[in-house]
Structures are given as C-alpha cells and as structure tokens.
C-alpha cells in the first residue's frame, strides 16, 4: 500500500529578484526513507531544503506536511513540526561549549551545567561521536563542528532531518559512524534528506535519488535505477542556452603559456593538501577545479602565505626564479602574489568602511601609496579609476560595503587586490554569490588580466565557469592535482570524472 508522503512540494519556485534558484520543483519525502539530493554547486539543493526547513519561503507553489499545506515563517516553526536541518555552514554559537550548543534553546530557568554536560557526554557517546562536550565550539575543527551539528538535530527527535553535505569534512571513520547513525534513524522511522557531492555515498545509503540542475528537477527515482555515470550526466548535462557559459573553447583559443611564474612542488599541509605539484604560467588563466573540501583553497592560501605548509618536508614553492616560503601574506603580496578570497565577508573587506577606504587600504598595505600621509584625495582618485575599470555601481560613493550587492562587493575585493600591482592573481570562487550581470564583468576582468601578461589562477567549483575561463584546466581531488586538461580536450563529464574518482 502506498502511504501518503510525509512532505510534498508542489510546483515550488524561489526567485531572488527575478533570478530563479529553484523553479517548479515537485518533491516528495516518504516516512522512513533516505532521500539523496544531488546536483552541482548552485543547482538549488540548499535552497530547496531551506524552504522545507522554514529558513526561506517559496515564491510560488505549495508545501504540504502530512497532506496539509503549511507555510513556515521561521526555522523554529519547522522544528516544532519535527523538521530539523543540519546546515553546511555551521550554525553553532562559537563562544559556547559543545554541551551548551546541543541544548541551546531548551534550557530551564535555572540552567544546571553539570547535568547538562553529563547528559551531553552520554548522548554523544551513544552516537559514537568523539567530541568533548566541555570544549568550546570555537576550538573545534570543521569536522567536529559538523558532528555537533548532526547530534543537535538528532537530539530534537525530529521526524525529518535534512543533512546539507554532512560528510564533506568528516574522516572515513566518522563517516562510518554517521552512516550507521543514519541507518538507525531510518529504522526508527525518521525521514532523511541527504545532500551530498559524494555519489558513492548517495548510491550506497539512499532509497531514492533526486537530481537538480540549474534549479530544475531533472531526475527523481529509486536508487536502483541510477548508476554513477548516469548521475554525472544528469548533474552536468545542462542546456547550453545560457549565453554566459555557452562558448566552448578549443585549444586554438587558449593563450600560449609565458614563462613559468609559479612552480608548486610536493606541497603538503596536514590532511588537506597532500604532495601536490603543478605550475602556473604567465599570460594564461589556469583554472583549478575541484569539489568543496578537495584542498584547493588551502593550496592557494599556502601560496599566498595566509596559512603555512607542513614544517617538516612541506614541499617547495618556486616563485619566478626563487624558492619562497611565506609565513604571512605581506611578503607574498610585496613579491606580487595576491589572493582574492572566496569568503569575502570574513576575509575580503572591512564591511562598515566605504568603497574608497577599502580600496585605499589595499594600496596602503602594499606600500604603493604616493606619500606617507594618508589622504582622502588619493583614495578618491584610486577609487574613481578602479570603479570605472570594474564598473562598481553604488548609490553613492560613500556607501558602506555592507550596503552593496554581492557582485559589487566582490568587485571591491578584486579592486582592493589589483591596486597592489600583482604578478600572480589567485581568484578563489570569484563569482560565488554574484548576480549574472556582474559575473560577466568579473570574467571580463579576469580575461583582461591574462591578456595583459599576468599569471592568473581561478579556483572554482562551477564547471561552466572553469570551462569558459581557463587556458589550462587542473583538477583537484583529495588534496592534489590529479589531472590536467587543455580546453579542447576538456568536457564537463571528463572533468567531473577526474574530480570524483
């Protein structure tokens, strides 16, 4: 007998100022099933699940819980109805301990911490999660934070738990515990939505698989109907009507390499970067593709001196003719290496300062300002120049960065880096959270930099972006470069295959 689905989404759409993140999706979740949700970054998986969990509301369409239409305005409301979500970016309070985070919101008037810690300890051991309940969350690594986040969702005894990429940061052992936990939950009748990049995991544990692409549902069926090749094809086989990414480059389009600017040899850092070797050439865009957590960002940060490689046998970095080892970003920047961060809110700018102040800050940091006295005039001059070059649009020039749109924020971050007159520019996810118009302009800037003879490295987990920008494509997996493609040889399937195998 076919039971009514626990949750049903009917023709649900979500748009942000006319740009659809999710469009006309029908989705059902049955009681006691594991439903895997797959798709590339930006395919709309997170948006879809956030609507179920009440984080955002659909623009159109209907959500039904137990056959009755519901409209959650807040996550707490969804939680009250038994829907919990484990977020990709963890939502823990960093200054509190693990136990306090686990029981956050459920405290009695007089909160007895001793009892709380004992309960947390017992609970975490019952899940086989090796996390110290006394530890401050800010001291935990990404994987442990994820475990606390999972434990918190499980503790609520929800009917539905949504996991957004729960395994990306976990070790194999922790994954094993996680999967046995998921299995236990299923036996108890909990329904699980499971978002993942790891196709093997999805195939192994899920009952049904739904694949999204560009916000639309492309396939949804029981797991036995899928194999990994089919999934990859469904994930990447987008219609090429999108003109931004429509152009397929051939080998003839690729810029010829200039001198070798950077040679990375056997670079290692912890378990994130493992003996990676590659080169970057001047006058070219080198695209670095890899799934989240494959160590691309860490490699770039080592190059730019933001983080340090292993102290013993950490490998060699040769920039130009010299072997270099940066312990902080400043000397790297003075040598001409700039890193345009992927997390602009945290690392990219001073959000309460104006555009001019931010750009001038980049100039001052590099020591290229015209005099030792900081003047408003110079700030205005530099800002006018770069605003024109990058087409930064703001209501007024004194607008604080936090008031700008994502695209303009990103352009300010780029301008702030480029005023430093670099020789090697590393763009990390340059168009994440950026609207379509700004993407085209940022791509233009990247291409112009390479045309002017600079070495440019672009890190992206969005395949079409890599394909349309790169003169060489490097694929990252498990902390190292595993494959190199020329634009003519690369297809989305081949790159994806290299990135997941």
């Amino acid at each position: 007998m076919m039971t009514a689905p626990l949750i049903e989404l009917r023709d649900v759409s979500k748009d942000y100022r006319g740009v659809y993140a999710v469009r006309n999706v029908n989705f059902t979740l049955n009681k006691g099933e594991i439903h895997a949700l797959l798709g590339e970054n930006g395919a709309g998986k997170s948006t879809l699940t956030k609507m179920i969990a009440g984080v955002t509301q659909p623009s159109q369409g209907q959500i039904l819980l137990d056959g009755k239409p519901v409209s959650f305005q807040r996550p707490a409301e969804a939680l009250h109805n038994g829907i919990a979500m484990v977020f990709q970016e963890t939502s823990l309070v960093p200054s509190m301990t693990v136990a306090q985070n686990l029981y956050l919101g459920d405290e009695k008037l007089f909160n007895r911490l001793r009892g709380l810690y004992i309960a947390a300890q017992q609970f975490l051991s019952s899940l086989n999660f090796n996390v110290d309940p006394w530890a401050n969350v800010s001291t935990l690594g990404a994987a442990q934070k994820q475990l606390v986040e999972i434990a918190r969702a499980v503790r609520q005894k929800s009917r539905v738990i949504i996991f957004d990429e729960p395994t990306a940061t976990l070790t194999p052992e922790e994954k094993h515990y996680f999967f046995s936990l998921v299995d236990r939950l299923r036996k108890d009748g909990v329904s699980i939505v499971f978002i993942s990049h790891a196709l093997e995991e999805a195939l192994a544990i899920s009952d049904r698989i739904t694949i999204l692409r560009d916000g639309e549902l492309v396939a949804s069926d029981v797991t036995s109907k899928f194999d990994r090749d089919g999934i990859i094809r469904a994930m990447v086989g987008r219609s090429l009507s999108n003109e931004l990414y429509g152009r397929k480059r051939s080998d003839a389009d690729a810029r010829p390499p200039g001198p070798k600017v950077l040679s990375v040899e056997n670079l290692s850092m912890g378990s994130m970067v493992r003996n990676t070797s590659f080169s970057i050439y001047a006058g070219q865009v080198t695209g670095l593709f890899g799934l989240i957590g494959s160590g691309r960002t860490e490699t770039a940060k080592i190059i730019a001196g933001v983080i340090k490689r292993n102290i013993f046998h950490g490998g060699e970095l040769r920039f130009g003719e010299r072997s270099v080892r940066y312990r902080e970003p400043r000397p790297a920047m003075r040598d001409g290496i700039v890193y345009v961060t992927e997390d602009r809110k945290a690392e990219g700018f001073f959000e309460t300062m104006s555009i001019a102040e931010n750009i001038q800050m980049g100039l001052i940091a590099s020591g290229l300002q015209s005099s030792s006295v900081v003047t408003q005039g110079e700030a205005r001059e530099v800002t006018a120049e770069w605003s024109k070059l990058l087409q930064i649009r703001a209501i007024n020039p004194n607008a604080r960065i936090v008031e700008l749109s994502g695209g303009n924020q990103q352009k300010v971050v780029i301008a702030k880096s480029l005023v430093q007159k670099p020789k090697l520019v590393i763009f990390d996810e340059p168009t994440r959270g950026v609207d379509v118009g700004a993407i085209a302009e940022i791509h233009k800037v990247i291409q112009d930099l390479a045309d002017s003879g600079l070495a440019v490295m672009v890190i992206s987990s969005y395949l079409p972006e890599i394909m349309v920008l790169s003169d060489r494509i490097l694929v990252y997996r498990m902390g190292r470069v595993v494959e190199e493609f020329t634009p003519g040889r690369a297809t989305e399937e081949k790159i994806m295959y290299a990135a997941v195998h």
Binding site: D251, P256, P257, G258, P259, K260, S263, V264, E265, N266, S277, F278, S279, Y281, I311, F312, H313, G314, G315, E316, R318, E321, S323, R325, R472, L474, V481, E484, T486, R489
Partner: protein
C-alpha cells in the same frame, strides 16, 4: 650563514634538502608521442644524429652509420672506442669524440688534426661538439674524472667537473671558456648571440659569453638535459633521464651513495638510467610496482623518453614523451629535417621520426 641555512634545511626538509621534482605539466604534459613515432631504424645505443649537407650520420657504440631516409642505413666507419659525440660542419668535415681517446677530425682540410692544451682526462669525456664556422668548434667535456659511459657514476659522485672548450682547428689550440659545470651534455651556437650549454646535473640551460660568464635561460627541468638542436622557429632539447624523488633523495645521502658505488653492480644502482625494467634486481620507487601484472604509465621509472620543443625565448612549447609503459627511453639527440624530426633513443636502441608540428599534447 650558509652552514646554518643548510642545517636548518636538512632538519626541516626545505630548500636544498626538499626532495622535490618539478611537475610535468603545461607544455610538458605527458603523452605517448615517442611510442607512436615511426621507427626509422633499430640500432643498439643509437646516439648523436648530425647532418652534413645532404648526408645524415648517427653513432652507435663504436660504429658510425650513414642514414638516408630513402635508402636506409649504411655503415660509415668503425673506431677503436665508443663514439661519445659527433658534429659536422656541413661541408664534409666530421668531428668525432671518442670515449677515453679524444677528438678525431675526419674529412675536410683539418683531417687528422690533434689538439693541444686539452688535458687527457678532459679529452676522454667529450659529450658534445658543435662547429662555429669552418675552423672553430666548441667542445663540452662532461667530467674530468669519468668517461661518458660512466655518467651515472659522475652524477652519484655529485661532481661538477665539466667544462666547455673552444678549439681553433687551424692550430689545434684549445682554450677553456667555462669550468665547474655539472656535466654539460649539449651545445648550441646561436648566431651572434653566444653559446648555449645544457648543464645536466644542474638541470638547466645556460648561455655562455666569451669570458665564460653564464646566464640561466631555462631552469628547474624535470629531467637531465642533453643535446640541443636548432629547428624552425625554435630549438629541440633532448632529455636523457628523468629526475625522480627517490634519486633526489639518494643524492642527498652521501654515506649511502658511497657504499652503493662501492658494493653494488652499476646496473642496479639507485640512479637514473637510459633504459630500465630489464631485471627484477633493479631498485624501484613506490608507484613503479606492478599491480595485477600492469605497470601504470605514470609510474616513476628510472628511465624516460622526453624531447622538448623550445621557443626562441627557450621556453618549452611542446613535448614528446615515452613513459614507463613505453620503451623509447634515453633520448640523446634530435635532428630536424624538413617537416620532420629524427630522434635517437639510446635506451630504446632506435632512430625515430616524428612530425615537427604534431599536436603532442593529446594522450591517445
């Protein structure tokens, strides 16, 4: 200061003590172009191709062969020692370096010229010769301690005893223009721009001026460079053996090396080679182990085949490879004729022919 730096580096595995090898990427992306290349002729230890006007020659051990693309190969002489280097002036004169003997000039007006000023130990190890006009030539001497066939020993001894000489054939006088080089193995005269030398043990190409001062043209090669040849719009560089992490590591362990040189059969040294995989006694680097009877093409073998096309600025623009699963290893020289390039694989015992403008970046 340098002592402190060395100590620091050896503790932390940085700088000189970092056992790293540059990656084969970009223009050096591996392919199997040499294994797909057309076989012109098989000849054990085929070495040093030269062109003398309309005629082509190559050496093979102590024998000299004439190569004709239409008529095939005909013997052109036999010497009492292995030929280590060849050069032709294009008008019938051949300069021949003989291992342990010295320079012999055959044909032309300088036939039988003997050299003065070149010490015997240096003359025994001529690795490359090139003519600079009809009466002048340059000699590269690999080492003043070892013979050309003992190059692996020279590397393992970490010698930098190579030199480059200028010889006036009219008088036979030889003048040293550079010394303390790490096995110079290739020479190229650029018209009006001086001499280019490939310095194998320092894995680089340098330009020498008249006074012996050098500037680096191309550094940090992933293999040991050998002979250089001018082609249309660029240069061809042969690289005879690969750099490997295991070997880089051995090169930083003097005690181990001394013991190895004393006690182990040279064929089984942990050293680069012109060909490998013939005996189970050969040392392996992790990754070269056969699994289920299959040797992966990317395995870090002791020998490799690599020919690189350089542009006019001496930057690599294309490359031709024979990887661990191939046999055409130990590339020692090349010669561009028309639209094709002839290549000698000393390790694979073959003379090969490839299309010069091949799109070699495709791995079939």
């Amino acid at each position: 200061m340098s002592f402190l730096k060395r100590t620091y580096d050896s503790i932390f595995g940085a700088g000189e003590a970092a056992v790293t090898v540059p990656p084969l990427d970009g223009a050096l992306l591996p392919n199997d172009a040499l294994d797909q290349a057309e076989l012109v002729t098989a000849a054990a230890a085929a070495d040093n191709l030269v062109r003398d006007g309309e005629r082509c020659f190559f050496s093979s051990g102590a024998e000299l062969f004439r190569l004709d693309l239409m008529d095939g190969v005909t013997p052109a002489g036999r010497f009492d020692a292995p030929i280590s280097a060849l050069s032709a002036d294009g008008k019938g004169t051949l300069a021949i370096g003989l291992s342990g003997k010295g320079l012999v000039v055959r044909g032309g007006k300088h036939e039988g010229r003997r050299l003065s000023g070149l010490p015997e130990a240096d003359a025994a190890c001529i690795t490359a010769i090139t003519f600079d006009g009809p009466d002048k030539l340059f000699l590269a001497v690999g080492s003043s301690r070892n013979r050309p066939e003992d190059w692996a020993r020279d590397l393992m001894e970490r010698n930098h005893l190579g030199s480059v000489w200028q010889v006036d054939l009219a008088t036979g006088a030889a003048r040293r223009i550079a010394d303390k080089l790490g096995w110079p193995a290739g020479l190229l005269v650029r018209k009006g721009a001086g001499l280019v030398v490939s310095e194998a043990w320092r894995h680089r190409l340098i330009a020498l001026d008249d006074k012996g001062r050098h500037t680096v043209l191309l550094d940090n090669l992933p293999a040991y460079p050998s002979r250089l040849q001018a082609g249309e719009g660029g240069f061809w560089l042969s690289l005879f053996a690969p750099r490997r992490q295991l070997i880089e590591f051995v090169l930083r362990e003097p005690a181990f090396r001394r013991k190895m040189l004393k006690e182990i059969d040279p064929a089984h040294w942990m050293a680069p080679a012109l060909s490998s995989g013939k005996s189970f006694l050969e040392p392996l680097q992790g990754g070269s182990v056969k699994q289920l009877g299959v040797l992966k093409p990317w395995a870090p073998s002791r020998s490799y085949g690599l020919l690189v096309r350089l542009n006019e600025a001496f930057l690599p623009e294309a490359s031709f490879h024979s990887r661990a699963d191939g046999t055409r290893h130990g590339i020692t020289s090349s010669l561009s004729i028309g639209g094709r390039v002839l290549v000698t694989s000393k390790g694979g015992g073959a003379v090969l022919s490839i299309a010069a403008d091949d799109n070699r970046r495709e791995v079939a």
